[in-house]
């Protein structure tokens, strides 16, 4: 198993760069196009949340994206400097629409085969995503 790590400044312009990188890695791992699309959206969501978290926390620390693949799954983790899980805020706005973050978490839950948020050493959260590699993908 090899791990590839990508560290980006916490700026929105670089989220697309991460998508390009993970798309390429996913295709190399043998994932089909629909699975690649799902993975791209999930990673983009996690990176967007990380960029916003770092901004809210006033942190210029880079966002670290790590990719590890073995024969049957891919593990991607995205580390940010979010202050706390409680900082996730309200789930709906005053007119009853889901907030962007609520929609993002729904997408992460639905698109990844496994998704969790864990505290990160040094402060912040780590978003971990697992995608299974199936024989048909």
């Amino acid at each position: 198993m090899e791990t590839i790590e990508l560290s980006i400044p916490p700026r929105s312009v670089y989220v697309g760069v991460v998508r390009l990188a993970v798309s390429s890695l996913a295709r190399t791992a043998g994932m089909g196009e629909e699975a690649v699309d799902d993975l791209k959206i999930a990673v983009s969501e996690a990176c967007t949340n990380a960029v916003e978290s770092n901004s809210e926390a006033g942190s210029e620390d880079p966002i670290v994206v790590s990719w590890t693949a073995d024969d049957d799954r891919v593990l991607i983790s995205i580390g940010d400097r979010r202050r706390s899980v409680e900082a996730l805020g309200e789930s709906v706005d005053t007119q009853g629409f889901s907030t962007r973050l609520t929609m993002s978490l729904a997408l992460l839950e639905s698109l990844a085969d496994a998704f969790k948020l864990t505290p990160r050493q040094g402060g912040g959260l780590c978003t971990s995503l697992v995608f299974q590699l199936t024989p048909s993908s």
Binding site: V13, V15, T48, R100, S104, L107
Partner: protein, 113 residues
């Protein structure tokens, strides 16, 4: 990464043809265009997503924001989208119950709200 936005009029509707990827970096451009349309008095808007290669929650958030703005003027905002990978995002987040989604601009601008 550029986001292409073209605006045209079809009947009584302003149609925004979007091309490219809508994400945290490009979504503000779409937001500004939709705000501009409403400020100019265009309250019946169609957003054509057929040329969109990528859409995530920031794009959804912009569309929801635009919907609220037109609704404040008793207007409408509908979408054109036939791509399964984009429709999937609306389904997962429940927004297929919020936005009318059509198969063509002609259908969207045909008066359905």
């Amino acid at each position: 990464m550029e986001l292409g936005l073209d605006v045209r009029t079809v009947g009584t509707h302003s149609v925004v043809d979007v091309k490219g990827e809508i994400d945290v970096y490009t979504a503000p451009k779409l937001r500004e265009k939709l705000i501009e349309l409403v400020s100019q008095g265009s309250y019946d808007v169609v957003v054509n997503l057929e040329g969109v290669d990528f859409l995530d929650s920031t794009g959804l958030g912009v569309l929801v924001g635009a919907l609220k703005r037109v609704k404040a003027h008793d207007g409408s905002l509908s979408l054109v989208c036939t791509q399964d990978k984009i429709l999937k995002i609306f389904k997962i987040t429940g927004l297929t119950k919020v936005f009318p989604i059509h198969a063509s601009v002609e259908e969207a601008a045909g008066g359905a709200t």
